[in-house]
């Protein structure tokens, strides 16, 4: 039996940002107080998450029953924190603080409208994210999953113009459409099959069931496509569409929170609903593997052709998400460990890249990669961070990305899937091909943006960075990418704990 601790800590961690919402609304006229309440909520939230960390590291899980369930009638709403949820919660809540600081700089820098609404919904979506991370059963997971879709819609459509409306429509129709069409039937099917038990504690929900190959594959796909936040093709188009959002939103939500919630759900489904045994028995996992592999390659190719920086980042995200899905679908210990690590690795790397894109836009108003040649001299910190961030996403040393990709590769090799290993390698090359030229061109342009021959010398007086509130967070996250390479101990330990708990 599992070692469980009853504690209200996960509830408080979730509530910290929820309670910030009324504060933000109350202080809508006092800008300073409003921003302080956001930051304070972030710190408090991280504090609660850190308080849970030692318990998790002891190998225990924290369980809180929010709404009790009556056997045979309803499913309880339960929080249950395990190592996987812990990693995700840590990543999300620590990056929220960075994003809050960044958002303050960004929104002030551009003098955006309706900032109160922006910060309020930002806090709300963070609560939903932690809710997903701590979800103790499938129903709770779904509940917070939908809450996240809805609370991010006002953020995506923040500009309230025609483009935002289009992006918002795509965003919601994909996310809600797939969840109603695939996820709910899948959950119901599981519910009936498992006789009303949807809990993630103990063995996987369907572990003991007698399911054939075809039902298993169909159910797996229904889940994988139903949680379309994971961005598996062909239900990925919402992600580039959602790039109409202000950059802080794209940064936290579409590189970290929303998309990671998608892959998080897929990991939970594979390990917690099916269990490694059941999927491995028929090789049902391979179907998911190949869909993910296809997504990895195709999205990388599309990313190569994008000139809009944020769109390129979006397609890169789609590819990286499929890494994680692919890793967990391989069902091999090392690959799963790699997947879990990649959640963190990709988060810090990608958020850096988005921060940089936003900083460039705030400082120069430029959105397209072709306009960015030579900008390195003007914004050295930003582009240096961009370089480190790209290393993290590509998986080159010295970045945490190397560690996670290494595990993924090893996992694929040990699982005997050489073809999938090749997919990883090709994709890494493609990643390098679409990221590295950006920072190279920025520092060593053939021509600068005015068309003059370059070799103008770097001068401190020429430095024109974005506001400090934008630059500091991106430097912090960039150094995190590198720092985690040298000190990955905590992440590895948590990942090991999780893998240990789902091992057949």
């Amino acid at each position: 039996m599992e070692n469980t601790v009853n504690s209200l800590l996960p509830v408080w961690a979730c509530l910290a940002s929820l309670l910030a919402v009324p504060l933000i609304v109350i202080f809508r006229k006092e800008i300073f107080l409003r921003e302080m309440s956001t930051l304070l909520a972030g710190v408090v939230k991280l504090g609660f998450v850190l308080m849970m960390l030692p318990i998790i590291l002891e190998g225990k899980t924290i369980v809180t029953e929010l709404v009790p369930g009556i056997s045979g009638i309803n499913v309880p709403i339960v929080f249950r924190v395990d190592a996987l949820g812990m990693i995700f919660a840590l990543v999300a809540s620590s990056l929220w603080i960075a994003t809050s600081i960044y958002a303050i700089g960004y929104m002030r820098g551009l003098n955006e409208h309706s900032q109160t609404r922006f910060f309020a919904f930002f806090a709300l979506s963070l609560s939903a994210t932690l809710g997903v991370a701590f979800a103790g059963n499938l129903l709770t997971l779904y509940l917070f999953y939908e809450m996240l879709s809805l609370s991010t819609w006002p953020l995506v459509t923040h500009h309230q113009d025609k483009e935002a409306r289009g992006g918002g429509r795509t965003y919601l129709s994909y996310l809600l459409g797939t969840s109603v069409a695939f996820a709910i039937p899948a959950i119901l099917f599981t519910y009936l099959k498992a006789d009303g038990d949807l809990s993630f504690s103990g063995p996987a929900i369907l572990a003991g069931s007698d399911m054939g190959f075809l039902p298993a594959v169909l159910l797996l796909l229904a889940f994988a496509f139903g949680f379309s936040k994971a961005g598996l093709m062909p239900f990925h188009s919402w992600l580039p569409g959602a790039m109409v959002a202000p950059t802080p939103v794209s940064a936290l939500l579409h590189a970290v929170a929303v998309v990671k919630v998608g892959v998080f759900c897929v990991i939970r489904v594979v390990t917690g609903v099916f269990g490694i045994d059941l999927l491995g028995k028929f090789g049902a996992n391979l179907v998911l593997c190949w869909i993910a592999a296809f997504t990895v390659i195709v999205s990388s190719l599309i990313a190569l052709s994008q000139d809009n920086l944020k769109r390129r980042l979006a397609f890169s995200t789609i590819g990286q998400l499929s890494y994680i899905v692919l890793g967990v679908a391989l069902l091999h210990e090392l690959a799963i460990k790699g997947s879990v690590l990649h959640i963190a690795a990709h988060a810090v790397g990608k958020i850096t890249l988005f921060f940089c894109a936003g900083a460039i836009f705030v400082a120069t108003g430029k959105k397209y990669i072709s306009q960015m040649a030579g900008l390195g001299k003007q914004m050295p910190f930003t582009f240096a961070a961009f370089f480190l961030g790209s290393l993290g996403v590509i998986g080159l040393p010295p970045s945490i990305g190397l560690i996670s990709k290494f595990h993924l590769l090893l996992g694929a090799a040990e699982a005997g899937q050489v073809a999938l290993m090749v997919v990883f390698l090709i994709s890494t090359i493609l990643n390098a091909a679409y990221f590295l030229p950006i920072s190279y061109e920025a520092f060593f342009p053939k021509k600068d943006s005015e068309g003059d021959l370059v070799n103008t010398k770097f001068q401190w007086s020429g430095v024109k960075e974005a506001p400090l509130a934008c630059v500091i967070p991106l430097c912090v996250t960039a150094s995190l990418t590198v720092g985690l390479f040298f000190f990955p101990g905590l992440l590895l330990e948590l990942a090991d704990l999780f893998v240990g708990s789902v091992k057949p």
């Binding site: 709404v67 009638i73 025609k162 935002a164 069409a181 099917f189």
Partner: protein, 518 residues
């Protein structure tokens, strides 16, 4: 004391109505306190009754001590099936009373007391329908509630409303007459009017139960009730009647009238004919489920075609009636469809109330009748809009609102019974509802024609001030309070669906049908 509750539930609104009739015309300000007082009595009475029923079992009350099966004694009965519904009716009634404070007599206060008299009599009718245990008294009470609702609808100032009320009178009377006809055939064959008696007689005399006359009685009763609940092909009267009536009236009728009719159908199915007779002997549950599927799809699609907010909501009611009828007729072994239908009666009452209250506020404060009038509503009335969003999410079926859980139970029943078409219809209808409401959210958020590019020149301080245009009435606490309360109820009912459904199950599991073969 507790024994008298069934009578109190009916008498309190009656005395309230009489009192208002006596003194209301002198000063219209006494109407509200009297109405509130008498409804509060029923509210606490309903809660006490529910508590009693769930601990001690059903309560029977024989008016005047004339016990059954005296042909026409008045038998009131509160059991687990209707105890929760009583609370729902009383809650809606109290909330709508608050909502009606300023709204009723704004134009001409001499009509205020008429409104409250009819309103209280309508409450009487609804409580009576819910607890009547006698088929003929049920007819009388249906007519009491119908007559008062005709009057309430006709009180509206719009011309189309009067005509809609007339049509409603015709349809409603025909529906009630069909019901009466069905009861006549039942009386012919069984010689009793008491529901329990009829049930026992039908159960113990198979040759009566199998006779054509009983089948015909059932068909007449069913058609009559279907007209009353606006089940799909018979829904024509509803959209106009509800959308042209005054806000307070619509807020009360929309959540309750159709739902009560669904309850009557379920009551007749369970307590009069018996599920076994209906599902096994009669065996056309498939047909009715298909009708429900058509109702769901047609209601949703018709809702999509509407430009007026209230009309759109009315067509959604038609779809929701399809949910409940379909659920009640699923005939799955565990009766999860029936469970879902009963839970959905409560859930739908809450969400319809929420949406209609919000729509009423839009009309009253912003003169916004059409969907396109909602432009910028998130800025003008963020709290009202927030409550509207919660109601809308419940309609779509997003957790943790009650709408999600009722669909959950209904779909479970559909899967158990193998009615895939019903499950599909529910999911499609959820998607259509999503489209429907997000179209509204978009207009309220972006305006009808959003700017081409986004404009950074907004001054953040300026735009966040609430603009008060000259034709907008200031917010009224008595209007907003019930709305927020309903929004909270929607969420609480969703989160605590387990206990509520457990209460419903205690009733259903005692039915012999669950154990026997289905």
């Amino acid at each position: 004391m507790v024994d008298q509750i069934p009578a109190v539930l009916v008498l309190a609104p009656l005395f309230g109505a009489l009192l208002i009739g006596l003194i209301g015309h002198r000063d219209h300000r006494v109407c509200f306190p009297i109405a509130l007082a008498s409804l509060s009595v029923t509210f606490f009475g309903a809660i006490a009754a529910a508590q009693h029923v769930f601990t001690n079992g059903p309560m029977d009350y024989f008016v005047g001590g004339w016990e059954k099966p005296l042909g026409i004694g008045i038998h009131l009965r509160i059991d687990a099936l209707n105890a929760l519904l009583l609370i729902a009716i009383a809650t809606v009634a109290v909330l709508v009373t608050f909502f009606s404070i300023r709204r009723v007599g704004e134009k001409n206060t001499e009509k205020t007391h008429y409104f409250y008299i009819l309103f209280l009599l309508l409450c009487l009718g609804l409580f009576g329908i819910t607890i009547a245990a006698d088929a003929f008294n049920l007819f009388v009470l249906i007519e009491v509630s119908s007559l008062t609702s005709y009057g309430l609808i006709a009180m509206g100032s719009s011309r189309s409303g009067t005509y809609a009320a007339f049509n409603y009178v015709l349809m409603g009377t025909v529906g009630a007459s069909f019901y009466l006809l069905g009861v006549g055939y039942l009386y012919l064959t069984t010689g009793s009017l008491n529901m329990q008696d009829i049930h026992t007689i039908l159960g113990s005399n198979p040759e009566i139960a199998q006779s054509k006359a009983v089948t015909i009685a059932f068909i007449f009763i069913l058609v009559g009730i279907w007209i009353k609940m606006a089940f799909f092909p018979l829904y024509g009267w509803l959209p106009n009647a509800y959308s042209y009536s005054p806000s307070s009236t619509a807020c009360f009728l929309a959540p309750l009238m159709t739902k009560i009719s669904v309850y009557v159908m379920i009551r007749v199915m369970i307590s009069v004919f018996g599920l076994e007779w209906i599902f096994v002997s009669l065996g056309w549950s498939h047909l009715v489920v298909w009708l429900a599927v058509i109702a769901i799809l047609a209601g949703s699609v018709l809702a999509l075609a509407q430009r007026e907010i209230k009309k759109m909501l009315c067509y959604l009611i038609v779809a929701e009636v399809g949910y409940m009828v379909g659920g009640a007729w699923l005939a799955d072994e565990g009766l999860w469809g029936m469970t879902g239908a009963l839970y959905h009666i409560l859930a739908d009452a809450a969400m319809t109330l929420c949406l209609f209250l919000a729509a009423g506020i839009f009309v009253k404060r912003f003169r916004a009748r059409e969907i396109s009038d909602l432009e910028g509503m998130f800025r003008k009335a963020p709290w009202v809009m927030a409550a509207f969003v919660i109601g809308a999410l419940a309609m779509i079926g997003v957790p943790p609102t009650c709408g999600f859980f009722s669909k959950f139970y209904l779909i479970r029943g559909g899967l158990d019974a193998g009615h895939w078409e019903y499950v599909g219809a529910l999911l499609i209808s959820s998607l259509i509802n999503a489209v429907l409401f997000f179209r509204i959210f978009e207009i309220a958020f972006f305006g009808n024609k959003p700017a081409e590019g986004h404009d950074h020149s907004h001054d953040p301080h300026e735009t966040e001030e609430l603009p008060v245009a000259s034709n907008e009435a200031p917010p009224v606490w008595s209007g907003n309070l019930p709305l927020f309360a309903t929004a909270v109820i929607i969420i609480l009912l969703g989160i605590y669906n387990g206990p509520v459904v457990a209460l419903i199950r205690t009733f259903l599991e005692e039915l012999p049908i669950v154990a026997s073969s289905l």
